[in-house]
Symmetry: C2
Subunit: 205 residues, 2 copies
DNA sequence: TGTTATAAAATTGGCGCCAATTTTGGTGCA
DNA sequence: TGCACCAAAATTGGCGCCAATTTTATAACA
């Protein structure tokens, strides 16, 4: 469909992923020539990608100085997490209402998948398995806009990979919470699901 | 702070407002030369604005064909309204918890303001007075991210000014609902507030 | 008369250039 | 030695150009 669009979109996603992965730490400058080399893209492409990322609040822009990775204000991060929790909890009722037996099985499989990555996989693999689980869970709300919205919100939360997924204990707890969510869905308990989700999100600082 | 940014941001807002106002109807093409004339801006500026609007899902892009005003899929519009309702209702509890007497007075004043615009003001004035009321109400949630998020969501709902604010009856009902919201806040009834908000949002098709 | 092929016009899209601004490094002075 | 000032280098930012594609208009043909 769109050829040009896919090129720049892909570029945006690659940079965003590298920011999440910690290749570019919060506060560091994203120099255009450097990005040109790193991603083998033309200058205008890079500039477009940077503008899009700044619109998404993933990076910030300073006139005549350039773009730098957004440093999460303590309050802002809390607000974003809070907002995520609000929305996802509100979706809990829809999720349990729409979930069939088959959906539960799928969710369980994805939860197991994440759990395995916990042991063997790289941090990036863990991150992605986690994303897939949550995407599947939220899609049960029946509202596709909600799924993409939450994903956008996620991107806006500054990555601190070192602290975020640092302790194995925290990752393991996340995995355990995933199973608790699946269980709550199976039991058709919206309130329990909402509780676990809120805890899951807010603790995943 | 940002000079360049403010220029393009302003341009984006002007075009967005014109789209909301119905100057550009859903489905119509946004030709770059035309926009250049209309907004007295350079080609790259226009292109940047168009890209930003397409990222915001306000307009859509077709490779080598151009940009056109996003035509709301029936389902998509419903999902967006549904999402708005979910989030705002979830915020209802926070709102009543944070609202002081003074806040209620402010809200009442804004509700009255909208009501007056209902009689005397232009459609655009009504639209803006409505926006201000809701912004004030939502800001009581204590979460600034939520306020801007809802505003973004609003922009993504295709305007049909002719049908949206067409009937005076509907506008009057909106105004009445505003007062009901203020009353619910005053009575510290989160559930009532949530109910009115949901109704208000979903009926404002 | 309706349809297809072709050419001209219009529109979009990518790229490089150069000016404006900021940062950096060095020099002179108290 | 520390500080202020100045010049050079680096970086960003806006603009116009031209190629690629699509659309429209025209003409030829069944």
């Amino acid at each position: 469909m769109d050829d040009h669009n896919s090129a720049s979109t892909e570029l945006v996603e690659r940079i965003a992923k590298d920011i999440q992965a910690g290749t570019f730490t919060p506060g560091s400058w994203l120099k255009q020539v450097e990005l040109q080399r790193k991603y083998q893209a033309s200058r205008p492409m890079i500039r477009l990608a940077l503008d899009r990322l700044s619109q998404k609040r993933i990076i910030q822009h300073a006139q005549n100085r350039g773009y730098y990775v957004h440093e999460g204000d303590g309050d802002e991060v809390m607000e974003l997490l809070d907002l995520r929790a609000m929305i996802e909890c509100a979706a809990a009722h829809r999720i349990v209402a729409n979930a069939t037996e088959k959906h539960c099985d799928t969710l369980y499989a994805l939860a197991r998948d994440f759990d395995e990555k916990t042991e063997t996989g790289s941090i990036l693999e863990q991150y992605e398995a986690n994303l897939i689980f949550h995407r599947e869970l939220l899609s049960l709300s029946g509202n596709l806009q909600l799924v993409t919205l939450i994903e956008d919100l996620r991107h806006r939360i500054p990555s601190a990979p070192a602290s975020q997924w640092q302790t194995r204990a925290r990752v393991k707890q996340s995995s355990a919470e995933h199973f608790q969510m699946v269980e709550a869905v199976s039991r058709r308990s919206a309130n329990d699901l909402a509780d676990v989700m809120r805890k899951h999100i807010l603790q995943t600082k």
